[in-house]
Symmetry: D3
Subunit: 247 residues, 6 copies
């Protein structure tokens, strides 16, 4: 049994609270166990200079943690005067992942700004951010449809993310919390679509290595977890929007 | 009647949710109408270099807004690479205000880091931050008492803050929301103790001026509002802690 | 008697030397006791982007201290690579104060850049900056009138600033020098117009508080001091300009 | 046939020139086709503060491109005043990869600074950097052995990296040059040890997705390519050092 | 005749006002025509880390211009967040020049911080800064002698600086003002000692070149000008200090 | 005899390898003894904003060192977040020197970006940069002529640079390596044209001074060295290009 009593292939408890921030076009508070992230999607009616005139939209993401989201208070990046490498990696990942399921030409020359702000962290903040940001983004698209700016959801599929890893004692496990993440030999983040295609695969064996067999076991777990997460997304979005996406 | 139906001397609805963030020694989510701020208090067992060896504690504050706390998305200060003048003014104000009611020599050589993160903004974010931060700080002191690091609450009094202003049509009003704040001729932030003493008074007539008479009317409103806010603080902290502070 | 022999309601010696810097449209060297500030006003024939096309002018201020203006040499902000919170607070205050007495629509789409550079500091540098900057600004307006860019002084009234505070032994005092400022319980900066209306009121009880009665005593002193300062401004500007402003 | 006449599973021409920079403890100029990287390894006889007293060593990497390494001149990061997200990702990857095959406790409290400077770029600069940096690091370890600071190579295995991708017309290909990289649907960087274990796996389908089957084909190619690269490393290091590592 | 009526080998009017800033150990306001610079010398009783324990002192300089020292207002370097290349060149030059005539081992482990702040600029600000800074530094040494920290002036000689250049119409000229500097073909800054030895020689022919003959003519002018400047320094310092230096 | 066996007026071994970087319009790897610099010239078909519409071209230079170009690894300027004063001085010098021999009006509204990246340093990196950059720039001009953008080399003359100095034991010496540079009393960089005219002269006696006689001896050495360097440039460029420049 895992440190919090879960089985190897079991996600933590998932909650997705819609429309959490009143000003944003789309927003959720997503909880994956004790990891809590506010995800907002803001629509801007123009694209960055390098894309102007191309008729396509753009999606970009920013990620941050409140200083006391973690066990030890961490220094604000605004005080340091720069964004850390870890933050940059994560926000590039979130943006890239979302763009892979959006039909940018159907979005039109608009930018979706995704903001993922971790208010409480217990492992898996980047994957929770992707899973939550997808829902916030779809809600923002609903606003665009309501005001007849676009006629249909410009998304090809659902999209969610989770982490898997190799626990030195229990072997492959799904959805690592902070304690598990700290002791895992291998750490892998997987982003997948509703149809089970890979969007991103990032496996790291910090001061360790992993075999092809272990890779395959981890991918099985990830696939199962992502299917569960997509059910939670569907529930949060409701039947109408979910059907519109799947159609 | 005001834009949201309130009377001139009426606060917006106040909620203070205790222990909102599990990692912090003290934390609250304070709502003043639609303004929502996460306030955490973190204890560090040392003081800044310039205070070492003096036997006294220190309190410092940081303030930030999530990008989509506002009607228009604002750029993160970490992306800009620097903290704006407005943010600096506010965090200096919060720290100074809290220090005025803390017995720093009874705190011992410890730093209290206050973090006020506005997740939704509708006017009065700096005063809501002070009112919430006071509660978070006292909760952190409870932790220090529990682990017998200190024997009593090192605070002299309660402390809360509100804004008052002169509406061009309705005259002096209490606790301005964003719309009222935008059209007010005079804007004043008042920080007061439970005994009704001033800690900070910041009155500004941007492109306008105000008379001694108006000043007096504004101070009456502020005093009334701050008494109400302190009742909410007492309720959140509970009778035992409140009595310990008042003793 | 105070540390430098003054009475409680007595200003330090005031000198205002006009046209101190040959390149600037308006400039003064103001001395308030040993506090000396070079104030220049520069006219630029355009306004910031957010104001373009509105037909109104803008006034913005910058403030700095030479490294050895103070007893201990302080590090240049250009070496630190950023402006401190204190500097930002002061320059925002100076700009806001001046804008309150200027008819921006009569100025036309022009920006007045105010620069206040403290060459020697002995307390009250921000209030001396405001008092001096007002004169420099009016002198720059004279240049605009001379070259027929505007037809009258676009100012509603005189404007000056001073500090008041509560000395632990002598009670309320006017125009604190550095030693007095360091030991005062309460520190208040007041900006007022010639008609005696408030423009800014910033009272702080760092690690202390103050009562409504003390507030009233401090405001009396400030009002008296500001009237004296405005007489010095009139003398510096001369009868013709002063009458043109008062008309 | 590929754009440069190679077969799908064929690497570009590889050259590893040892001791390219006289001051560095270890250095190579690695060429992978037209991609050329100077890799140096510098030994510092201390570790970062967070590791002091632990008896273990540390390896950290920095990566940069000369402005005209690319078809279009790119702006120096020193002129921009900050390191881009892409650079941070790459240097974190290089450091993590090398640490996975080094016995940090046998290295002792020393830091190896790896610098990878791309002087000419034609795709695959991060994987060429890892492959070259491994050799430079081993050469620096030779210096430590020569001066009897350590008694054996503190490495567990060889380590090399390459990229694989899915060409829209030719399917899976090995070691993409810049033109191939620009048009590939899927882009994957693989870091592996001499024994064929994974160290890092980073697969991305920017605006595309990939299946489990495609993943398996790509991994076959990568494994083959990395075995070839390790032969080039062995040749560059010579038989004695290679045997000492494999023992 | 030159633009301001001077002869080719004639300096502008020179004034050196001693003890201009009360807090500094040494200070002057130097005027060279309309160029005015406040130079202060501050003594710190320690040296930078790289010099500790060596028994020698250090001299370092900073240089800045007030925003409106020039015809067009220039942006503060603190606002830009960085010091320009021009400023860096000048402050490195001032420090290097002063160190060449100071016996750092007789100064003891102290740092002299030189600050040159140009309050009004009309060409030749860097050479005026050196000439003024020398006097401020000697005055600071007087303070060290007064408080018996050192027993004699730790200087080997006087030191002053001027500019020379080639006017397209008038040929070689001494001490260029801003208008002359803008149109000169060759611009040369010369720093010399009282004995006529060179300390620095910086000649530049921006978009032009100069011959050995022209160089010799310029050096004659510079030598003459520097002798005049040193007389002004002696006058400012008085006979006693001057003799103590020359002894 | 000098530390490396050279005579006083002898340059180190010079190599200029043309077209070292395939992407750049012009490039060389220049070696002056163990000092090695990659110089590239990139053509951009526009000029900076302040020059637009004037019909003239512009030349600007950047300079950097790889971290391990030196005996001790130095920190990257991109990591520091700013360019040092030394780097700024050098890049300003390189740009100014090249502009002095280029007919900017014949270049047309184009910018030449010069990048000098020192890959191995042993003294004289700035003068090697100028000598190498001149050749890279001429090669870039050849590209412009080939594609008929200009009809002739827009250069007035050859240009090269070297250093001279006063060795405390051997007296004046030419082309100092790092060891000689560290112990020299006087250090002078000289930039000259093929016709023997000065372009830049920067002589410094850090903590020392030098006489007119010494200056003359140093200039003789520099002139001789620069003639030798220009022969190497001619050889690298070939007879046709050299004649076209000299015509």
């Amino acid at each position: 049994m895992r440190v919090d009593g879960r089985e190897q292939a079991q996600l933590r408890e998932i909650h997705i609270e819609k429309n959490y921030i009143k000003h944003a076009e789309g927003s959720v508070l997503i909880s994956v166990g004790d990891t809590k992230v506010i995800c907002t999607a803001s629509i801007e009616d123009k694209v960055p200079p390098f894309m102007r005139g191309g008729g396509k939209g753009w999606i970009t993401a920013e990620y941050s943690m409140l200083p006391r989201a973690t066990e030890q208070r961490n220094i604000r990046e605004s005080s340091k005067g720069k964004v850390t490498g870890r933050t940059m990696e994560i926000q590039r990942l979130i943006g890239r992942a979302l763009r892979s399921v959006v039909q940018l030409e159907k979005l039109g020359e608009r930018t979706v700004w995704i903001d993922c702000d971790v208010i409480q962290a217990d492992g898996g903040t980047r994957t929770a951010s992707i899973t939550g940001a997808y829902v916030a983004m779809v809600l923002a698209f609903s606003k665009l449809i309501e005001r007849r700016a676009i006629s249909a959801y410009p998304v090809k599929d659902f999209l969610a993310a989770t982490s898997v890893g190799v626990d030195p004692e229990r072997g492959p496990i799904l959805d690592l919390n902070y304690i598990e993440d700290s002791s895992a030999n291998v750490d892998m983040n997987v982003v997948m679509t509703g149809k089970g295609e890979f969007v991103e695969l990032q496996g790291t064996g910090e001061e360790a290595t992993f075999s092809r067999t272990q890779l395959n076991e981890l991918l099985e777990l990830a696939e199962k977890g992502i299917q569960d997460l997509i059910h939670h997304q569907m529930e949060a979005l409701g039947e109408d929007i979910s059907n519109a996406i799947l159609k």
